[in-house]
């Protein structure tokens, strides 16, 4: 009884907080000053058709570095806590249909993942999305081929290489241009080309490799090695 009243009071309190926000909401018909500046700068200064990517990689690049660091710490934590022994491995015998189609599908999924992160500056998506798609390709491999071994050392190498290269590009931005993670260290190129927008595709590809290898190692650890 008291529990129910407490729940009702909590819901009423939330309503009190959100009601002014909802009633005062008005749809804007123009961008605010900061957003307009980002949209303008993304097209003119960075040569990036996808504004979201230019915000994530350049304008809020330090936040993205922090995000990648958080993901890295999560991976290390999972690996430390669930240091699997071999008998503990989750084995689900796959159906024949899954086993047969997976050999075609895994390659296609990997190509899609690589496409998503290399074209992050042109089309929706980018490093994080592409990395998760690659990890899901590895997941399909794990589910369909029970004995498939995914090498920890290769994953660790890809992960640390892309992390070091990411920070290295950031520091190169300090030396060669005006600031940390500035993509101006490479030429802008033709607007809309794959090799354009300075270092943005390079940075996003490194993030894609890093996220993909980290999430794959989380999945490998969860399954048991």
């Amino acid at each position: 009884m008291i529990k129910n009243i407490a729940v009702l009071l909590a819901v009423a309190g939330l309503l009190m907080i959100f009601l002014p926000v909802i009633s005062g909401f008005q749809e804007r018909d123009n961008l605010n000053e900061l957003a307009a500046d980002y949209v303008d700068g993304s097209i003119n200064d960075l040569g990036t058709p996808n504004v979201v990517t230019s915000v994530i990689v350049t304008y809020r690049g330090l936040d993205t570095l922090g995000e990648v660091t958080v993901l890295f710490l999560a991976t290390v934590g999972v690996g430390l806590l669930l240091k699997g022994n071999r008998e503990d491995m989750i084995k689900i015998s796959p159906l024949e249909l899954l086993e047969t189609t997976s050999s075609v599908l895994v390659a296609l999924i990997m190509v899609l993942g690589i496409y998503i992160f290399t074209h992050g500056h042109l089309t929706p998506g980018g490093g994080f999305q592409g990395g998760v798609v690659i990890a899901s390709g590895f997941l399909l491999l794990m589910l369909s081929k029970v004995n498939a071994k995914i090498s920890h050392s290769i994953m660790n190498f890809v992960e640390s290489f892309s992390g070091v290269a990411y920070v290295g590009i950031g520091i190169a931005g300090i030396v060669l241009t005006i600031g940390f993670l500035n993509p101006g260290i490479l030429p802008l190129g033709q607007f809309g080309d794959l090799f354009s927008a300075g270092a943005i595709p390079v940075i996003y590809s490194l993030i894609g490799l890093k996220v993909g290898s980290e999430l794959t190692s989380i999945l490998v650890t969860m399954r048991g090695e």
Binding site: N50, D88, P124, G125, Q129, V132, L219, M222
Partner: protein
């Protein structure tokens, strides 16, 4: 038309969220939580943010569901040993 679709998806999401609490089987709860993320990604797509929609669909409904399933499998295995 678009507000109707969004409200419809929102109602289904709420129903799935409540169902996830009340389902007897944990497997059904995990699937139900995955459905919430999938519908949220459809709403993001309708509202015009494909980047967030891709993240939500791949991480929220794909990877998180799988990690929950792995964890559930491990917890069950631990129980049967007692």
């Amino acid at each position: 038309m678009i507000p109707v679709i969004i409200i419809g998806l929102g109602v289904i999401m709420l129903a799935a969220a409540v169902a996830a609490i009340y389902f007897k089987s944990l497997l059904a709860s995990i699937i139900s939580a995955g459905v919430i993320s999938l519908l949220a990604s459809v709403i993001y797509l309708i509202l015009g943010s494909p980047d967030v929609a891709m993240t939500e669909a791949s991480i929220g409904s794909g990877l998180t569901t799988v990690i929950f399933l792995f964890a559930l499998h491990r917890v069950r295995k631990g129980k049967s040993d007692d």
